[in-house]
Amino acid sequence: MKILFFTGKGGVGKSTISAASAWQLYRKYRVLIVSLDPAHNLGDVFGVVLNHKKQRFTDSLYLKEVNLQKLCREYLQREISVLTHSYRYLQTINLDTYFSVLKYSPGIEEYALLTSIEETLRSERDFDYIVFDTPPTGLTLRFLALPWITITWIDRLIKIRRDILEKRHTIYRIRGILDDTETILSYDENDDDILKRLKTLKGNYQALSSVIQGKDCGIVLVYNPDTLSLKESKRLVDGLRELKLPLRLLINNKIQKKYQTMADHVDSVMQSFAPAVPIQRVAFSEGLLDGQNSSLYNIEETILSPFEMK
């Protein structure tokens, strides 16, 4: 199974290009295309209404729009149920009102995105290709960085937790239990809920991180032949390199004949940022302008030819 992430500045044509790629791939492979962008237009591109559920478009092409709000809500709901389970006395208080604030806290959205990617990768094993259409640069880089940041934090927390457990063990050994009313604090690594949870989380993130850094995953960077898009693309290339994520293909989209020199210039600069990454050019399509979705299927270039399955 190959996993592709289409990234780029807002408006460069990520959704169109990812949809066109999926359209070109489906004739040979089983393809699932997932839109992670909160401003969904995957349905618009294919001219169908998607209700946040996986939907069959043809026998080997499935579409899915991820509902971020719903994901956040579900995630918090799950946490609340665990919370009320462990803090019994809280059951009388209506926690929902308190937690409804949490969905505005920074990070929850990225987390929900990451969770949905993880879930998709875990459950959709029947496809040859999974194509992700991502939100604009900022959010994308943040959620792609998340596994790494989280693992760093988890490592620190595990270390402190181990110290605590060691101290508890020492205390238990010296002091024992003085009377029956005393509760024993868990001192064994396998008894401590927090450490157990931390370890599980670390395992999950390591697995995810190794998948998105692996050889079957590729980031496709879409840009336009203009300076603004060039600058932002450079930031994305740098960000991806820092996160050790594999950039596999550059797509210069919306090239017009009259701006050919600009396109050449942008391509040469991009190539210097990311040497040895193939560049694919896609011409500006007049047909797409007036919203005839059928034109999408007529993109002449074979977009993913450098990334086809071997």
């Binding site: 946490e79 919370l83 989280t150 934090w153 927390l157 101290k167 024992g176 003085l178 809920d193």
Partner: protein, 97 residues
């Protein structure tokens, strides 16, 4: 009668020794207990630091662990309450009256 008295005496002495033992064990661990509570306090602070303006891990990590953090939270709030008399707290633990 005399035998009973001796028995109760022995029990009494035993109790004294047991209490001595417990007291000494308690004293021996006092510092470690403080250290542990301090660590637990730090753990909670690290996770929930955003409330106090400390850079914190991704929010969801805090949310994820929150269900198991009852004890740490209690220590955290106890610390916050005693924080205006930290010196007394410290002296108390070390045993300077």
């Amino acid at each position: 009668m005399e035998r009973d008295m001796i028995l109760s005496m022995v029990q009494w002495v035993r109790r004294i020794f047991a209490d001595f033992d417990a007291a000494h064990r308690e004293k021996a661990t006092a510092l470690t207990v403080m250290e542990m509570e301090e660590l637990e306090n730090i753990f909670a602070l690290l996770l929930l630091g955003s409330f106090a303006g400390i850079p914190s891990p991704p929010t969801f990590l805090a949310v994820e662990l929150l269900p198991y953090m009852e004890r740490e939270l209690q220590i955290l709030s106890k610390r916050a309450k005693d924080s205006n008399d930290m010196l007394a707290e410290m002296f108390g633990t070390i045993g300077i009256e």
